[in-house]
């Protein structure tokens, strides 16, 4: 008998295509009558080979339920449930599949009706790109704005605005250009970085697969061309390795390892890693899979990590690189999309699921509810179903978080009602460092890791140590009122470190570099342990400061004094320091005061 798994014949070419075929997730949204189901039906009809019986069923259904006087109605390929056939509207998220030569598409079809915003958010959460469908006769409606805003909020970077029913406006270029202009005005306030417009008719197929002969004025690509060519891979976070532990694998007494999906970045055997929340460090011993050990695992891979040391780790912990640790926080801001019919209650403890961790959360404040039509902040009010609002949350235990903008997986969470078990809300964590609008009352409740490290840079003899010591005295001895939690300020002084942790490093360029980077890591660690940190180490080169930025992202305080830089003491003046203290023009007291004022400003009144 022939080997049933032999690969021969035309299948070889098909396999090759599949080997390089990308999986792209597309969200489609539009208002109720924009013809969304028709468009997707059209893509399925024209892009895939439809089985004969599906076509036969479509013909039959078109006669019974169709809106095209018995002619083939592509929408009926899409509208699955009986209830929606009767109402002639789509009521939930449906998934459709088709492929081109280059890509395999999963299309999430979402409803246009306002009360179903939650379904659109659901579909948007995993989408790489969005098709926003408009009716050429109606232009940019409230619905379209809402959809574009949600897509943007959910982090979709690529949008195709499909202006449908061009046949009903005589394929008019003016109508198309007017809609484009309107949309662009609105889109300026969104985070969608890659925006395309295409005029089409889903029913007749103009500009869907093939260029329309009715619109010679349109020089851009067809919808299918755009779907095939928009670049999406680089949207992923390839930098920050994050591995939420999903399952502890202990099949036998001598095997203990940690299964999960790499959320972002990548990992190799031998990498030094840190486990949150314990902060214990170890190395990756191997990356195990059914198909053998891997030399590297990247984002989206489902793998099992074995570690060198026997550390107590459970589901919900996170494995990260030692020098790229996410913020550990019990309090943060997030955009919440309210999903449940039962409104937000501020005295209620919700279950929060963040990566693989479940704990409880309270919503401390609703800062404002978003008016999605104007993109302006409305009043602060309790969120009800389909509301989107910015809220401050307090979590029962610290979570390792990144901002949603930086990391779609470690920056997202859901809230679950503890009684009904309904999914109450979807949350996207806001990076507070880049966001304005925090009230003063909050500073006392802030997490320590929010406080930036202050790094005094300047050549030998500029007066860094003097400033650092003054800061230490100010905070530790006089306990200023803004330091309500009485956090200790630690000064990391270059000379002292040279005598201790960097004793093994010489004064060569490489020795200096290692000394600086080690200091940066120590500063980061102390920051995470809750200390206020001031560093006084020269960090003489711009390239070196960039490396330090990647480790602990300090505020750079340039301590300027003329006449101390020479050939044997090279120093690059920082091009864009956060603050400068000029010890030429200010005397010791004035210089100290200006630095302390700055520090209080940064640490105390942020």
């Amino acid at each position: 008998m022939t080997n049933p798994y032999v690969i021969n014949g035309p299948i070889q070419k098909f396999l090759q295509r599949h080997e390089r075929c990308d999986l792209v997730r597309v969200l489609t949204c539009g208002s109720v009558d924009d013809g969304k189901s028709t468009l997707i039906g059209r893509l399925l009809l024209d892009a895939s080979v439809l089985p004969k019986d599906t076509l036969a069923a479509l013909e039959k259904d078109s006669k019974q339920y169709g809106t095209q006087d018995g002619a083939l109605d592509p929408a009926l390929l899409i509208d699955g449930l009986k209830a929606e056939r009767e109402q002639k509207i789509t009521i939930d998220v449906a998934h459709r599949f088709f492929s081109s030569e280059e890509r395999t598409f999963i299309v999430a079809d979402t409803p246009g009706h306002e009360q179903y915003t939650r379904n659109m958010v659901t579909a948007a959460s995993n989408a790489d790109m969005v098709i926003i469908l408009l009716d050429a006769r109606n232009g940019v409606l409230e619905q379209s704005r809402r959809h574009a805003f949600i897509a943007s909020l959910l982090g979709i970077k690529h949008a195709i605005v499909a202006v449908n029913k061009m046949d009903l406006v005589d394929f008019s270029e003016d109508v198309f250009e007017e809609i484009k202009k309107d949309f662009l005005v609105f889109a300026e306030r969104l985070q969608i970085t890659d925006l395309h417009f295409v005029p089409l008719s889903a029913l007749s197929g103009d500009n869907v697969m093939d260029p329309s002969t009715n619109m010679p004025w349109y020089k851009g690509g067809t919808l299918m061309h755009l779907l095939n060519t928009i670049h999406v891979v680089s949207d992923r976070n390839l930098i920050d390795f994050r591995f939420p532990v999903q399952y502890v694998s202990r099949p036998s007494p001598d095997y203990r390892a940690f299964s999960g999906t790499v959320a972002s970045g990548s990992v190799r055997p031998g990498d030094e890693v840190l486990v949150l929340p314990s902060h214990k460090t170890t190395r990756v011993q191997s990356i195990d899979t059914f198909d053998g050990e891997l030399s590297k695992a990247s984002a989206l891979s489902a793998v099992t990590l074995r570690l060198e040391d026997n550390i107590d780790i459970s589901r919900g912990d996170m494995i990260v690189p030692v020098h790229n640790v996410p913020e550990q926080s019990r309090q943060f801001d997030a955009f919440l999309v309210w999903m449940d019919e039962e409104s937000l209650q501020d005295d209620k403890e919700y279950i929060i699921k963040h990566t693989t961790k479940m704990t409880t959360a309270r919503i401390r404040t609703v800062r404002y509810v978003m008016d999605v039509n104007t993109l302006r902040r409305g009043e602060a009010a309790p969120l009800t179903a389909n509301d989107i609002g910015r809220c401050a949350l307090t979590i029962a235990e610290p979570l390792p978080i990144d901002s949603y903008e930086r990391n779609r997986i470690t920056g997202s969470f859901v809230l679950i009602d503890p009684v009904s078990h309904q999914t109450s809300a979807a949350g996207m964590i806001v990076d507070r460092k880049t966001e304005e609008g925090l009230e003063g009352e909050e500073s006392s409740a802030r997490q320590t890791s929010d406080f930036p490290i202050l790094w005094l840079t300047g050549n030998t003899g500029s007066g860094k140590s003097t400033l650092a010591q003054a800061a230490e005295r100010h905070v530790n001895r006089s306990a200023p009122s803004w330091n309500a939690a009485a956090r200790k300020l630690v000064v990391l002084d270059g000379d002292e470190l040279r005598e201790t942790i960097s004793l093994d490093e010489d004064l060569s360029a490489e020795g200096r570099r290692k000394h600086n980077l080690r200091t940066a890591r120590l500063a980061k660690l102390l920051q995470q342990k809750g200390f206020l940190v001031v560093v006084s180490v020269i960090a003489p080169f711009e390239s070196l400061r960039k490396e330090i930025d990647a480790i602990c992202k300090p505020q750079w305080i340039y301590v300027e004094r003329s006449g101390i830089t020479s050939e044997d003491r090279p120093y690059d003046v920082p091009s864009n320091p956060d603050f400068t203290v000029n010890t030429d023009t200010l005397n010791e007291q004035e210089g100290t005061q200006s630095f302390i004022d700055y520090m209080v400003d940064v640490l105390g009144n942020d």
Partner: protein, 301 residues
Amino acid sequence: MKNMSHIRQLEAESIHILREVVASFENPVMLYSIGKDSSVLLHLARKAFHPGKPPFPLLHVDTTFKFKEMTAFRDSYVRDELGLDLIVHTNADGVEKQVTPFSHGSSAYTDIMKTEGLRQAMSKHGFDAAIGGARRDEEKSRSKERVFSFRNADQRWDPKSQRPELWHLYNTRVRTGESMRVFPLSNWTEVDVWLYILLEQIPIVPLYFAAKRPVVERDGTLIMVDDERLPLLPGETPKEKMIRFRTLGCYPLTGANESTAQTVSEIIEELLSCPNSERFDRLIDFDQPSSMEEKKKAGYF
């Protein structure tokens, strides 16, 4: 940066879902129908928990009319070769009442032996999560199905009140008596399944490959005469034909296709130029309009 190919992305997503089930539920089970989708699902489960065995039992609801080759494959491969924990459940009540597709009609038979049988087994063992191989591309009503699909204490599905499913943050909370149906293959298509079987050389029941088998033709459908229980109509004589099956279920209710495809490669080729979508061959879907949706509400998989 090179992207993972789409099939490897689907594989990783399914493994993630399987691990999530085991980590979140007390007493999960995998529904094992012996078909190709179950074979893929089982293979993914072996991958997800390697080097261990899948930490849940497999449940097969035996309706007593499965093809002989299916039962043989189940016992020799799953039970003996892989050594997995296999539960076989048959609705004893239905057996006692001698419920067959011939005496009760396909609809009532499926309801009693399959749907009711499954509900019995779920209750008897107190499973709080059942992993199944259903895919969204199979049928219209399934395209709306969640990956984690909530079932109330009566094991019923309400298409109007499904939990929103965001990112890969599945809401796995259930109360005692309630349960979850979980579909790790939700985003796979029929072609993906075959492609994966080929790439991973996953063992499947030989009925998927074309061979000479005895069949009778009824209303344009080829029914294999798998044993003597199939009542032959007056004038009907089984003929040997070169056939294979696209889906496997109860033999009197499963239509065969004339085919010469004897390898997975040839099956995929046939599929890509195929005139029929796979559920066409399952007669039960055509009993009544929207019939799959009705069955799902009642607790059918």
